[in-house]
Amino acid sequence: MEGFLPLQWCIVWWFIALPCLMIGLHQLKKVLAADREALPLLGVTGGFIFILSALKLPSVTGSCSHPTGTGLSTTSFGPWITSVVCAIVLLFQSLFLAHGGLSVLGANIVSMGVVGPIMGYAVYRMLRDTSVNMYLTVFLVTALADMFTYVTTSLELALAYPAETGGYFSSFILFLGIFAVTQLPLAIVEGIVLALVFKYIVVLKPDILIRLKIFSEEKINAARDDAS
């Protein structure tokens, strides 16, 4: 929302976003140099960020919001590379759709591309080497990355606009009520859909998942046997 974040906060969020993008670009170069076959996987996982963030879906609260689609990319490439893909999508939306804006782009990259994916990635790292089902892991990563994107948006707005009574906290709760509640059903559906997409990646291109060590070879082979 261009214009709704005071200048000093725009600058703060840009300062946080830029180093993340630098790490992302650096990692991206390294991953692609090490394995050219990572590029198609980046295309699929990034493609879903393009698709899902274009869909404004109605929610039970009577307002509309869009999913983020960052779960697959977070699972496959981690939060930093995901932030680069998000930056591209958000730039497109700022320039052509008046959705977001150049001054708030930093804040939007932080919520959608950094904090959401970091939360998702934390769950992925916790569950990756356990016996928890792979698809359940992808579901949780996706749903949490989506939810925490909007929790972060609420926090960014609360920091800029503390309530007169109750300060930052009550303002945070107010924005959570607007953004996070709307998002909850969307995050769940998004998580299920991307878990299904991940199943097709497992079936079609298991070797790249194994080479990038996204999940253990045993887990991927077992899932592949189940699916065929």
Binding site: M1, E2, G43, G46, I49, I51
Partner: protein, 100 residues
């Protein structure tokens, strides 16, 4: 898992349930307008700060799609770009799998 398509069934069920809930809540006439949560958020900001909504102007001048039609066209283009990427790669993978 013996049944191969449990995830597919779950996905379809979730989408149908989601649409069903939407149809129900939107037809019971609870006055919901289905505006963007961004719009609701902007109103929240205006209330909290006491600054009228129309006083919030872009800090950096911004091109706005002149109408909802053009906006939805551009959103569709974005989704189409993503769809082309996904479809292209899945097709490429399927093709190379068959060759091998």
């Amino acid at each position: 898992m013996n049944f191969r398509y449990s995830l597919e069934v779950l996905t379809i069920t979730a989408i149908i349930a989601f649409s069903g809930i939407f149809l129900y809540t939107s037809s019971t006439g609870n006055g919901a307008e289905y505006t963007g949560s961004d719009t609701a958020g902007s109103q929240g900001i205006a209330e909290l700060s006491g600054i009228p909504l129309e006083n919030f102007q872009p800090l950096i001048p911004q091109w706005k799609p002149p109408s909802g039609e053009i906006e939805s066209c551009l959103f569709a283009l974005q989704a189409a770009a993503g769809g082309a990427m996904v479809g292209g790669v899945f097709g490429f993978w399927m093709g190379s799998q068959k060759k091998a």
